[in-house]
C-alpha cells in the first residue's frame, strides 16, 4: 500500500512497513495465497469465511463503494469484530458511498477495529473521513504523507471537526 497513516492513542503515526495486501476476488486463489495479512474482497469472504479463519492469520475486509448495506448487515452475525481491519475503497475521491458505509459499520454494526480509507485518498477528504470514524488512511500516490500527517494532527483543534446537529 501507499503511505499509511494510523490513529492510535490520540495521535497519528506514519506506518512505514504496512503489510496489508488486497486478496484477489477469485475463490480459487485463496489456497495459493502466501502467508501474511490479507484484505479479502466481500465476495471472497462471503464464500470462504471458514477457510479464511482456518488459515490462522489476521484478516481484513476490503469493501467496494457499491457494497449493498444489506451485505454489511449480514456481517453482523459473522463476528465483525474479528476483522483486524476493514478497508473502504475510493476509486475516485468524489464517490461518497463509502462515507455512508463507514457510518453503518461504526454506528449500526458496532465495528471498533481499524477502518481504513484506501484508493483515491486526498488531503482534502481527511476531515470528512475522520469525522465518519475512519482511523487509518492509505494516502493516494501524489499526496505528501508528512503533510497529511500534520493535517490530521491539526484537525483535532479544528472547528470543522465538530459542529452541532451532526
Amino acid at each position: 500500500m501507499n503511505a499509511v497513516i494510523r490513529e492510535s492513542a490520540a495521535d497519528f503515526q506514519l506506518i512505514p512497513d504496512d503489510l496489508w495486501r488486497i486478496a484477489p476476488e477469485e475463490n480459487d486463489a485463496l489456497p495459493s495465497l502466501p502467508n501474511g495479512a490479507w484484505l479479502y474482497p466481500l465476495v471472497a469472504w462471503q464464500k470462504e469465511a471458514a477457510a479464511i479463519r482456518a488459515r490462522g492469520q489476521k484478516f481484513g475486509l476490503w469493501l467496494k463503494p457499491d457494497t449493498p448495506p444489506i451485505a454489511l448487515e449480514a456481517l453482523k452475525a459473522n463476528f465483525v469484530a474479528d476483522f483486524a481491519l476493514i478497508a473502504l475503497d475510493f476509486p475516485v475521491f468524489t464517490d461518497g458511498r463509502a462515507y455512508s458505509l463507514a457510518r453503518l459499520l461504526r454506528e449500526r454494526l458496532g465495528y471498533t477495529g481499524e477502518l481504513r480509507a484506501v484508493g483515491h485518498v486526498l488531503l482534502d477528504t481527511l476531515l470528512f473521513t475522520r469525522r465518519l470514524g475512519f482511523d487509518a488512511w492509505a494516502m493516494s500516490e501524489r499526496q505528501n504523507a508528512e503533510t497529511a500527517l500534520a493535517h490530521l494532527r491539526s484537525l483535532s483543534q479544528s472547528h470543522m471537526m465538530r459542529h452541532p446537529y451532526q
Binding site: F93, T94, G96, R103, Q166
Partner: protein
Amino acid sequence: MYRYTPDDLALIRERAAQFRAQVERWRSGVLSDDEFRPLRLQNGLYVQRHAPMLRVAVPYGMISADQLRKLADISRRYDKGYGHFTTRHNLQLNWVRIEDVPDILDELAAVEMHSIQTSGNCIRNVTTDPFAGIAPDEAIDPRPLAEILRQWSTLHPEFAFLPRKFKIAISGSTEDRTLGWYHDVGLRLDRQGNGQEAAFTVIVGGGLGRTPLRGQIIRQHLPWRHILGYLEAIVRVFNLHGRRDNPYKARLKIFVQRMGLAEFSRQVEAEWAHLKDGPATLTEAGYQRIAAHFQPPAYKPLTTPTAQLAAQKAAHPDFVRWLARATHPHKTPGYAAVTLSLKAPGQAPGDITAEQMENVAALADEFSFGEARIAHEQNLVLADVEQGRLFEFWRTAQKVALATPNAGLLTDMICCPGGDFCDLANAQSVAIARDIQTRFADLETLFDLGEISLNISGCINACGHHHVGNIGILGVDRQGEEYYQITLGGRQGSAARTGKVIGPAVPAARVAAVVADILTVYRRERRPQETFLQTFGRIGSAPFKLCLRVAEVAPESTEAIA
C-alpha cells in the same frame, strides 16, 4: 437574524484557510484540474465563459445591512461593481480572479458570510419564504429550523459527495412561496394533530432542470424534532443507491421516479427505523437557543394610519401603484413588508450594483431594523417597514431607482444570467428579458395585464425556472441559431405545476413579439377581473398557439425535453 457564535466564526475562517491551501496546491500542480474542480465547486467557485464566478451564500435569504455593504465593497474591489442574485438567495460575482478568492473568503468571513456548498454535489443553500416570520398566513416561522438545517448540512461529513446536488426548501405558511414542490426535499411546517405540535409535511423528488418533476408527499405529521434524522435517512438512501454514472440522470427526482414513491418510502423508513430517536433528534432547548435569534424586532404599538395613507394616495397616483405592487401584508399591525424590485427597465433581472447594495443597506438601517431578505424571484425584501413611513420610504427608494412598482407583473421576470456569462447556456436570456422590458416599459400596460409571471432560462438546466412561469421561455440551440420555446400555464405556489410547450420554438428576434401577441390574445379573451392564468385555464392553449404561426422559418416540431 442569526448571528454567529465564536465556533461558527472559527469554522468559516478555517474553511477559508483550507480553500486558500487548496488553491495553492492546485497552482503548484499537487492537485490536478480534475481533483480541484469538485473542491472549488464545493466552495461556490465556477470557471465560466469569461472569468471565474464566485457564488456567495445568503442562507435562507437573510442578510444584514453590514453584510450588504461588505458585498458592495467586495464587488467593487474584486469584481466590476455589481453582482447577481439567484433563485437560491445567493449572490454571484461574475468577474473574480481565482487567486483573489481566498482573500474574498476571508473578507466574507469577517461579516459571517461564506460560499460553502453553493455548488457541487452536496446539500445546497437551504431556501425559505422571503416573508418568513411576518406573513399573516404563517403558522410557524421556518427560520430557526432553516438555520438548524444550515448548521446540520454545512460540511456534513457523510453527505459531502452525493451523486448530485441536493436542494431543500422550507416553508411555514399556508401559501407556499418557496417552490417546495420542485425541490429535492420540500418541507412544510405546520401545527398538526390535537397537541398542535409543530410537524412537517415532507415532499421528495421534485425539481426543474432538464426533467421537471413535481415532488410527492413522502411523510406527513413528522414531529419537528425528528427532521434531521428523517432527512439523514432520505439523503443516505440517495447517497448509497443514487446513480453516479450519468449526471443527467442522477438527481433524486429521477431516482424516486424510477423506483416509485412506495419503494423509495419503504427504503427511507427502513433507514429511519435505525435513526429515529438517535443523536440527530432535536431538543426543545436546542431549538430555543436558535429561535432566540429570530425573535421579532422591537415593533412599536401601531395601527394602520388609514387617513394619512388615503391623503398620500390621493395626492400621488404613483404612490398608489407602488403600494399595490411593492407592499405586502404583515402580521404585526401598522407594519408592511416591501419588495425592492431588481427588475427596473434596462436592468438584467437579479443584477444589483454596488451602489444599490449600499442603498438597500441604508434603507434597511433607516426603515427595517437593519435587515433584508432575498426573494427567489430575484428581488429584495425589507420585511418590517412602518406603514406610516411608507410614503417616506417610497420617496427615498425612488431617488435610488429601487421603487419600480412591478413586483408580480410581467416585467418582474426570473431570468438566468444566460450565454453572456454561463458556459451551459444556449441563449442570451438577458437580451430577451431586455426586449420584453423595452416593449412593456409602460406602467399602464403592465398594470392592465395584471398578475403574471414570465420566466426565462438560457438552457434546459432551467436556472430561470421557465417551467413554472405563467409564460416560460427556454433558449434552445438549433444548428447554432438561438431559438426559444414558449410554455404556458406554469405556476408557483401551493398549486405549483409546470407549463406546457405550445408549439415550435421561435427565433430570438421574434420572442418579444410573440409574447406581445400572447398577451393580446389574453386581453381579447379575458373576462373582467380574470388573470392571465385564469383566462388560460378557461380557454386552453389553442388560441395562443396561433401566436407562433408567423414565424418566418418554421423550425422542426417541438424539441422534446430529455
